[in-house]
Structures are given as structure tokens and as C-alpha cells.
Symmetry: C2
Subunit: 341 residues, 2 copies
């Protein structure tokens, strides 16, 4: 069973539900593209035949509110396209079994125009009966690898990632290759499962941060500080790598073509509307990342050290802000619209 580190649950200060602005910007930027993709590619007459049920899933939905926003958008675009009040929508909110589904369910919008259900389990495996889904959506989720490639932790391997916590900033190409290989393995499972579950003619839209986690390097430098100060042992850093890979257009094209059950209707890099640059924004960004990464860090470093890591990294917001002003143009996301052949 793959390990999983859900977003922070509940609705407290550092919870995911209150700290998901970056993910929201990713979604807002993609809304128009999603609308166009649906208008150009979706053909429900053919797909549904005599039925009026349209089944949607959000894979890796976390606990809201972004998932509600996306799901309502998809429903509305499909309704508008067909000027149809007869269609009935069911949304399957999917995430790992240790996701906080209670919070998700309790914050479902009262005025939603779909039937809601939750589906626990890894999207790297099967989640639904064959040919039962008409539209699959996944945002800020497929870049999570099912596990950390073990070569990164092996001092006998060429891919040993000594002193770093990610491939970003690594000069050793074997490190990147190990991440790519794991991404390809995961996506092979992902696409095999979706090829069974999505009806012919059905669509899948994937959104993935392309460079959003480059700020991970600041967590890396905090860890280096802690090692230098003797607060943690070097080996604790060497045995930790963040299991996220940001696929390029080429990476995605390769995995889709290998699977061969989906046609690529659109694939491109898009830029979020707002560009986070000032110090307050940098703080927001780090707190966002805290909500996403905290459990992963706690699992490896424990509560106390993790608190130290996050507190210190937030204090670097001025430095991060300066860095972002220079590097911000590169911050973008990957949008992929696919159709089941």
C-alpha cells in the first residue's frame, strides 16, 4: 500500500481548507480553459445514450473549498452547453482513505446542483466500476508520487540525493531520473485504471503545478541551517526526499501516449492571474505549503523539529519575496485535456 500524507484536516489556522489559495489560483486560471475544452470536446448525446446521469469525479480532492468550486464549474458548463435541465449529476469526491472526509462532507455547499459522494482510496489504483465515469478531474494532485524513489536514500546508488530534499536544485541528473521513473510508473497505473473507468468519449482534465514547489529549496536551506547548528543529524536530511514531481508537457505526453487509450485534446502551460511577489504573499505561500507538507515533515522529523523548520522558513519571507520577484515569470501550471478513445 502506498504511503499518503493528507492535507491538514479540520478548519484551524494551518488547515488546508483555510490555506489553499495557491491551489485556488491554479484552478481559477484553468477555468476558462476547462470551459473551452468541454465545449469543444464533450459529446454527451453519444456518451449517455438514453440515460440522463452524468458522473464526475475529482481525484485527489482534499477537503475543499477548491474541489466544490471546480465541480460546480464543470456541472454549470455542461448544463450551459446543452441548455439541459434533465441531466442529473453525481460527483465522486476521491482522496486517500486518511483524507478528512468528515470535514469535506460537512462543508458541502448547500446549494450544489449535484448528488455528492466520497470515494476513499489511491487514484493509482481502481476506484470505480468499468465505464462508469463521464468526466474525471484532478488538480494539484498527480504530482504527488506514490512513494519516494528508494535510490535517492541509498548511499550506494548513483541517485543518492545527499544533503538535499528534492530534485529541485540537485546537480546530479540521476536524482531527476529517479523521480521521472517513479512518476512514469505511477502514471502508468493511473492511466490504466482511468482507461477502464471512463466511458468511451468521456473526458479527463488534469492540472498540475509546474514549478510551484520550487520554494521547497527554502525548506532545504532551513534544514541545512539546522544541521550546521547541530540541531539535527545530517543523516536525517539525507534520508528525506519530498515525493513530488512536476511533469513537463513532454513527460505528460509520453505517459498518455504509452497508455494509448486517451487522445490529447489540449496540453499547455498556463500562468496564474496574480503574481505573488511581496513579502506578505511570500508568507502566504509558505503557510500554504505548510498546510500541504506538514504531515509529511512530521512523519519524518517529528513535531518539534517540523515546527522549527516551518517557523524559520516563514522568517525568510523577505528573502523568498526577493527571489520570487526574479523567478516569478516561471511560475506556471500544466493543463491537460484528454478524451477517452
Amino acid at each position: 500500500m502506498p504511503t499518503s500524507f493528507p492535507m491538514n484536516s479540520g478548519d484551524a489556522v494551518y488547515s488546508y481548507s483555510k490555506n489553499s489559495q495557491i491551489q485556488r489560483e491554479v484552478l481559477d486560471g484553468a477555468k476558462e480553459m476547462m470551459k473551452e475544452a468541454i465545449i469543444e470536446n464533450l459529446d454527451i448525446k453519444n456518451m449517455l445514450s438514453s440515460s440522463n446521469k452524468f458522473y464526475i469525479t475529482d481525484l485527489g480532492c482534499s477537503i475543499g473549498p477548491n474541489t466544490f468550486n471546480s465541480m460546480q464549474h464543470i456541472v454549470q458548463v455542461v448544463k450551459d452547453k446543452y441548455h439541459d435541465n434533465i441531466l442529473e449529476f453525481q460527483v465522486f469526491f476521491n482522496d486517500h482513505v486518511n483524507n478528512d472526509f468528515n470535514t469535506l462532507f460537512r462543508s458541502l455547499p448547500v446549494d450544489r446542483s449535484y448528488y455528492a459522494s466520497g470515494v476513499p482510496g489511491s487514484f493509482h489504483g481502481r476506484l470505480f466500476p468499468s465505464r462508469s465515469i463521464h468526466f474525471a478531474h484532478s488538480s494539484c494532485a498527480i504530482h504527488w508520487l506514490s512513494k519516494c524513489p528508494k535510490e535517492l536514500l541509498d548511499d550506494k546508488s548513483l541517485a543518492w540525493n545527499k544533503g538535499l530534499i528534492h530534485y529541485v536544485g540537485a546537480s546530479n541528473v540521476e536524482v531527476v531520473n529517479a523521480y521521472v521513473a517513479q512518476f512514469e510508473k505511477d502514471m502508468e497505473m493511473f492511466f490504466n485504471a482511468r482507461a477502464e473507468e471512463i466511458v468511451p468519449g468521456g473526458m479527463m482534465v488534469l492540472l498540475s503545478p509546474f514549478s510551484g514547489y520550487r520554494y521547497l529549496k527554502f525548506f532545504g536551506s532551513t534544514l541545512k541551517d539546522l544541521v550546521n547548528e547541530g540541531m539535527i543529524d545530517e543523516s536525517l536530511v539525507d534520508s528525506f526526499n519530498v515525493p513530488v514531481y512536476f511533469p513537463s508537457i513532454e513527460d505528460m505526453t509520453k505517459v498518455v501516449e504509452k497508455n494509448d487509450f486517451f487522445s490529447i485534446e489540449k496540453i499547455e502551460l498556463t500562468y496564474p492571474k496574480s503574481k505573488l511577489v511581496d513579502e506578505a504573499d511570500a508568507k502566504t505561500l509558505i503557510i500554504n505549503l505548510t498546510a500541504v507538507l506538514q504531515k509529511l515533515f512530521i512523519n519524518h522529523f517529528g513535531n518539534k523539529i517540523t515546527e522549527e523548520i516551518f517557523t524559520r522558513t516563514i522568517l525568510k519571507s523577505e528573502e523568498i519575496s526577493t527571489w520570487m520577484k526574479i523567478n516569478c515569470e516561471k511560475a506556471c501550471q500544466l493543463f491537460v485535456a484528454l478524451k477517452r478513445k
Copy 2:
């Protein structure tokens, strides 16, 4: 929005998941009848046409393990009937939005032969798209009223239920009538929703305790003691009624016939295999009821008094045991098998 009082969550000593033996006996007793009903009445060839997806829901599933037991049984019986390995099953576990779905999901059997999902919401309203369910099941759930009939609390009403907490033991027929009226209203909503959701030819099996909560009278007598000792005010008892009604064959027949979308294939009272009679069993029974009723009591009486009520009632296990030895033959459940016309 109707109020709801979920079973005790988690897996601690008084949790529902560790204290649902009575409900389990109800289910075990019904297993054979369910099997027969499916074998005699289910016609999937007609119902599914070219599809191989069979959608099941457990309405008011709570948090397991009984629901897993029932769902696996239904899946197995359908599979056996059709000697079919092509069928794919999806189970929708339904309960109120404040049910502990996290615990439910985390305790899903690993070796289940169905795709699992959770559906939050009251089964007195719509939960699924039209014609999307092939088999609906509900055990130990429909006897919960959506609310307490307000006449019971009104000292101007003929149905004022002074000094009692339920219609069991009430000599005033207006009290029973108020409960019946609420049950009929709730079931009208229940059957209207299911008539839309269940495909023609689809089945629904309902199980309801017929007399299992007669032991409520012992909680009532504990409350009387507390009033006499001046620990609580009489008005606190007068303003509390347990919102459960145990339908008879006649009650159920009436609501099904009024709805008119379902045919009754079987309706009968059945007896659990084991007869709880000794003092240890009486204790088990009261602890079972504690898991079911605790939140309802806490909501009205607060934590401290509720603890007092349950502790004192458990101490009456000898008296309860004696009473049960005399009254046990009457302890039974209502089994109803319906088919969507």
C-alpha cells in the same frame, strides 16, 4: 433540516463499532430471508440490459462492522445467483452528514468485492440520481424519526407525554398517534425519494427492530428516580422524547401502499437466533443502547446527567434480565422485501 444523532464514533469502549451486537443479530437473522428474497425476486438481466454495473446502497449504515457484513452478503448472493464474474458492484454507504465517515472508510474490509463510496445526507430526502440504484438496504435505521413530534412536548396538546420519554408504556393513545403520524410523514418522503432513485425492477429490503427498544422504559424509570431525588427538574423529562417508532406490519403496508411505486414481496416478523436473557446479556444490551442513544441524551441532558442515567440503568441489569426472561418471546424484527414496479 432534520436533527440527527449519529451513533458513537471512533472505536472506543462505548463506540457503536464495538457495541452493535443487537443490530448484528437482527442482520444475521435476516440473512437467509434476504437471500431467498433476492433469489426469488431479482431479475438483473432485465434491469441492467447491456451494463454490468450493480449499484447498492445501505441507508443509515452507521460506521460498521454490520454494514460491511450485509453488503458483502448481498453482493455474494447476487453473484451466486448469476454464476457471474462479469458483474461489478458499487456500494454507497449512506448516513447523516455528521456520521463518522472517516472511521467507516478506514475500517472498510480490504478483501471486499465491491467499489466503496460514502453518501452523506438524510434518507428522508433525495440522495442519488434518478434510476441509479439497483438494490437499497436499510437495517435498524428507518425507525428513527426525522424529529420528535412537537405535540408530545406541548402541555396544551392532548398528546402531551408528561413524565415519559417514549410511547412505550404510555397509556395516552394520542401519544402513540403522534408518533405514528410522524412515522407516516417521514416514510412518505422516504418512499418518494426511493421511487425516483431505484430502477424499475430494483429491490429494497428494510429491517426494523419491532420491540428492541422496549428497554427504553428502564431509562425512563431511571429518569423518574433522578426527578424524585431532586437531581433534575421534572420539566427536563417532560421536554424529552426519544424519536423512534417501531412500525408494525400494518404500518409498513400502509405507507408502501400509499406510495404505490413498490410491490411487497415479503413482509414478516422474525425472531433473532439467540435470546438475550441473563444478567450479562442485559448489561450488553444496555451498553448497546448506550452507544446508540448517548448523543441524543447528551444533547438534552448534558454530559454529567447522561453519565448518571447510563450508569444507574446498567446497575439495573438484574431487574432487566428478569423482565426480559418474561418478555423475550416478543423481541423480534420486521423484515420487508420490496420491488420497484
